[in-house]
Each structure stands twice: as structure tokens, then as C-alpha cells.
């Protein structure tokens, strides 16, 4: 086994173990960052495949996304800090069936499909062709996904903003006075 093989298996094991911990931990914040650890391992595998931009962009984007996800989950949930223990799993029966079906499907796909093997010459430029592909032939898919994500983000902001559909959520509330006796006077 070469060094590259050893590093690959180490990263693959990290991705799987961290992914498993996402569901076994008891806090939304920890779950988010275990998922991030899993994605970072996947990003590192992409780096090993010679996709420098995609690998680093995965790590970069996942870091931002998991941080935002942790923040929004805590904002929308009853557990204000994310430190109180709570279960990360629900709907066990459905989850087990969905998990097995997905695993069998993806496994069958990976084993049955004839995966392409076209090694690039060392030092080949890959970032610029990727950009041309994304903003050329694949532009429709790329932009549809982008606009959908943007719409989702705007909806999330509307749902979580202080002035929602029913007016400001803190209407009528008064911040505590600096003068402790002010309450009694009024």
C-alpha cells in the first residue's frame, strides 16, 4: 500500500466516522461541526484527485455553510445555546428504511457502473476549464441551482428577521432601564 492509498483510507474512514457521529451526538452545534469534519475529509480526497479548486472550495464553502446551519438551527429551536443534550434522530422506522434503500442503491450504482479512468497529465490546468464548463455548456444547471439557493436564503432571512409578516416581533417591549429605580417610578 502506497502513501497515497494510506492517506485515502484514513480520510475515507474520517469522513464515515464523523458522519456517523453526526447522528450519535446530543447537540445541534456538535452535529454541524461533525458534519463539517466529514466534508473536510471529502474535500481532502478531492485534493488527492488533483481537483485543487474543487477540493479547497468544498472545505471553504462547507465551513461557511455548517456555521450558518448551526446558527439557524439554534435560532429556530427551543434549545437556546445548543449545549443542552437533545437527540439528533427521529422517525426511526422511516429513517432505517430510507438509509438501507439509499445505501443499497448507491452501492449497486458504484459497483455496476463502468467508472471512467482518464488520468490527467501531471501539472495540467484544471481550474480554467472548470470555469468555462460552468459558465458555458452547464450554465443553465449552474444558474438554476444558484438562483434556487438565493431564493432559499431570502426566505430564511424573511422568516428569521425581526420584522416578520406580522410586524416587529418585539413590538411594545421596552429595553430594561439603566436606572434600576425607573421601573418603580413609571
Amino acid at each position: 500500500m502506497s502513501w497515497a492509498d494510506a492517506i485515502f483510507w484514513l480520510l475515507a474512514a474520517t469522513a464515515l466516522l464523523a458522519g456517523w457521529r453526526v447522528f450519535r451526538t446530543d447537540s445541534m452545534v456538535r452535529a454541524s461541526f461533525f458534519l463539517l469534519a466529514s466534508f473536510i475529509a471529502v474535500g481532502a480526497i478531492m485534493l488527492m484527485l488533483g481537483a485543487a479548486y474543487l477540493g479547497f472550495a468544498t472545505i471553504f464553502m462547507m465551513a461557511v455553510e455548517m456555521m450558518v446551519m448551526a446558527l439557524f438551527m439554534v435560532m429556530f429551536m427551543m434549545n437556546p445555546a445548543g449545549l443542552n443534550p437533545m437527540s439528533m434522530v427521529h422517525q426511526h422506522g422511516l429513517a432505517i428504511v430510507a438509509g438501507l434503500v439509499t445505501f443499497a442503491g448507491l452501492g449497486a450504482f458504484a459497483l455496476s457502473v463502468d467508472l471512467p479512468s482518464r488520468p490527467l497529465p501531471a501539472g495540467a490546468e484544471v481550474t480554467a476549464p472548470l470555469g468555462r464548463e460552468l459558465l458555458g455548456p452547464s450554465m443553465l444547471v449552474f444558474e438554476s441551482a444558484g438562483v434556487t439557493l438565493l431564493a432559499t436564503m431570502i426566505c430564511a432571512v424573511v422568516l428569521s428577521s425581526r420584522s416578520g409578516r406580522f410586524g416587529p416581533s418585539d413590538a411594545g417591549s421596552v429595553p430594561p432601564s439603566i436606572d434600576p429605580t425607573a421601573q418603580e417610578k413609571s
Binding site: 456538535r30 461541526f33 463539517l36 479548486y53 479547497f56 471553504f60 445555546a81 445548543g82 484544471v126
Partner: protein, 305 residues
């Protein structure tokens, strides 16, 4: 550069830079007076002695793994950022194809390290600092991304050595006048300084490090200074032409420019006031983000010309 040589150079510059940051902070204290309400254990010799001698206390039910690992992650990210910087026009300790994207990853993971540092101690003021910092840190990081894309445009490459090479005629700081000032704000944020210090500020009794003591406290302060070193060299590379310059050898120019940026950041951290977090957030989204779009437009037009 051999891997061991690269590691040696990076760590050497990091430690020397941290000492320099400590000196700059001491100089700022001498010129501008002590910081009101500041905990007096920043990187001074006295602070070092105390940190080694004192025991490290913990809170009730902390996430101890995350709490102890956060300073290590912060320091590791600083080292990773510093390793990307080209020390001469054609070589860096780690010269990767998408260097500027790696720096972006360093920025975003830094926000997570600071958040976990505050969150994991299971204590009110650190938690407030952590959440406040995420809101500000992510927003100002977005600004820095557009600014960095602008800096990569004239080079037509994401490689940092190419970005240095593209500044042979004119520095990006001159060509894109909005770039460096906006990037400096990110520097203040990820090094937790002055107007952008929403994590460790005095109004939260030290924020995310309010519960830190002993050696972990020292490690956190060290990592903070190390991040300033990494940021200063990166800003010098992307906007001030990095190692390019007449007469003197490249690495000397890089260190001079990075020293200037570090001094500027320390001074700005002391001279600018910090507004309320919600006001700052509005300011970032309403003023700074459009300015970064403008910077990108200027960079694009300049490149097309």
C-alpha cells in the same frame, strides 16, 4: 523548497512575527495609553510567566475537547495561511494552484474556531461573544471574498505567485483603491481587534476568552497574534506586491510590507471605536458589501481595458 525547510521557515516567521506583534501592542500602549478595561495579560513577559504558573480552571460541563482544541485550530489556521504566502516572486512554502481559495477557507474556518472557543466553555459571556462574532465575522468575510476575487482578476489566476506577478507594474492597492481598506476590516475581525472585536471585547469581560485561564489562555492570545502575522503577510502579498521591490531582496520587502500592515492594524485597532453589533451588521451589509461590489466592478473594467 523541501517540506521540512518550508515548515521551518513558516514556524520561524510565525514566532518572530508574534514577538513583533507583542512589541507593537506594547508600543501602542506606550503612545496611546493603556486600553480601558483590558485584561492585563496580553502577550507580555509578565503575562507569559503568569500563564505558565497559574492552573487552568474549567467551568461546569464544558465541551472540553472543543475548548482545548480551539486555540490549536486558530494557531494551525494562522500557520496554514502564512505557508501560502510567496516569499520570493516565484516561490512559496506551499505554492498551490488555488492559493487564494485556500486563504478563503482559512478565513471561514477561523470564524468556526472562534465560535467553538466561546461556545464550548458553557458560560454566558463567552457564548454571547461567540454568536456575536459569527454574525459579524461571516458578513465581513463575504466582503473580503469579493475584494479577493477582484485582486485575482488582473492575474487571471487564483495562484498567489501569479497575483504577485500581476502587480509588477502597479500594486493592487493603487489599482483597486477600495480593496486594501475593506480587507483590513477583515483583518481586524479575524484577529479580534478594536472595531471588529465582537468576540473577545471588554464589554463582555473578555468575551470568548472570559473563562480562559493558565496555559490555554496564553495559547489563545498567542494564536491571535499569529493570525495577525498571517493576515499581514497575506495583505502585503495580495495588495502591496508582496516580495516585489527594487534593490533589497524579495523576502526583506515582504517582511517590511507585512510589518507596515501589522503596525497599521494595531493602530486601527486602538484608534477606531466599536459600534453596537447590530449597527455594525447593518453597516457591513448596507455600505461595505456594495463597496466591495464596486471594487469588483473597478477591477473587472480595469482588466477588460
Amino acid at each position: 523548497m523541501s517540506p521540512l525547510g518550508a515548515l521551518g521557515v513558516t514556524l520561524g516567521v510565525l514566532v518572530a512575527g508574534v514577538v513583533l506583534v507583542g512589541l507593537l501592542d506594547a508600543l501602542a500602549r506606550l503612545v496611546l495609553g493603556p486600553v480601558p478595561l483590558e485584561t492585563p495579560d496580553r502577550l507580555t513577559l509578565e503575562g507569559l510567566r503568569g500563564a505558565v504558573r497559574r492552573q487552568s480552571l474549567t467551568t461546569e460541563h464544558p465541551d472540553l475537547a472543543a475548548w482545548r482544541l480551539a486555540p490549536a485550530a486558530y494557531l494551525g489556521l494562522a500557520a496554514a495561511g502564512l505557508a501560502l504566502v510567496p516569499v520570493a516572486a516565484d516561490r512559496a512554502a506551499v505554492d498551490v494552484e488555488a492559493g487564494i481559495v485556500v486563504w478563503g477557507a482559512v478565513e471561514s474556518l477561523t470564524v468556526i474556531a472562534v465560535f467553538l472557543h466561546g461556545w464550548s466553555s458553557n458560560s454566558l459571556l463567552p457564548l454571547l461573544g461567540a454568536y456575536r462574532f459569527v454574525a459579524i465575522g461571516l458578513s465581513v468575510m463575504l466582503v473580503s471574498m469579493f475584494v479577493l476575487i477582484g485582486a485575482a482578476l488582473p492575474a487571471e489566476s487564483l495562484r498567489l505567485t501569479a497575483i504577485v506577478e500581476s502587480q509588477r507594474g502597479l500594486w493592487n492597492a493603487v489599482r483597486q483603491p477600495l480593496g486594501l481598506p475593506l480587507f483590513l476590516l477583515l483583518g481586524l475581525a479575524i484577529t479580534l481587534r478594536g472595531p471588529m472585536d465582537y468576540a473577545d471585547s471588554a464589554d463582555l469581560a473578555g468575551g470568548t476568552s472570559a473563562e480562559d485561564s493558565g496555559a490555554p489562555r496564553l495559547a489563545w492570545q498567542f494564536a491571535r497574534a499569529a493570525m495577525l502575522v498571517a493576515f499581514a503577510t497575506m495583505a502585503a502579498t495580495v495588495f502591496l506586491g508582496g516580495p516585489l521591490g527594487p534593490l533589497l531582496p524579495g523576502p526583506v520587502w515582504l517582511l517590511l510590507k507585512a510589518g507596515f500592515v501589522a503596525a497599521l492594524l494595531v493602530a486601527l485597532g486602538r484608534l477606531l471605536a466599536r459600534p453596537d453589533a447590530s449597527r455594525m451588521l447593518t453597516f457591513i451589509w448596507v455600505v461595505l458589501l456594495p463597496l466591495s461590489f464596486l471594487d469588483l466592478a473597478i477591477a473587472g473594467l480595469e482588466t477588460l481595458r
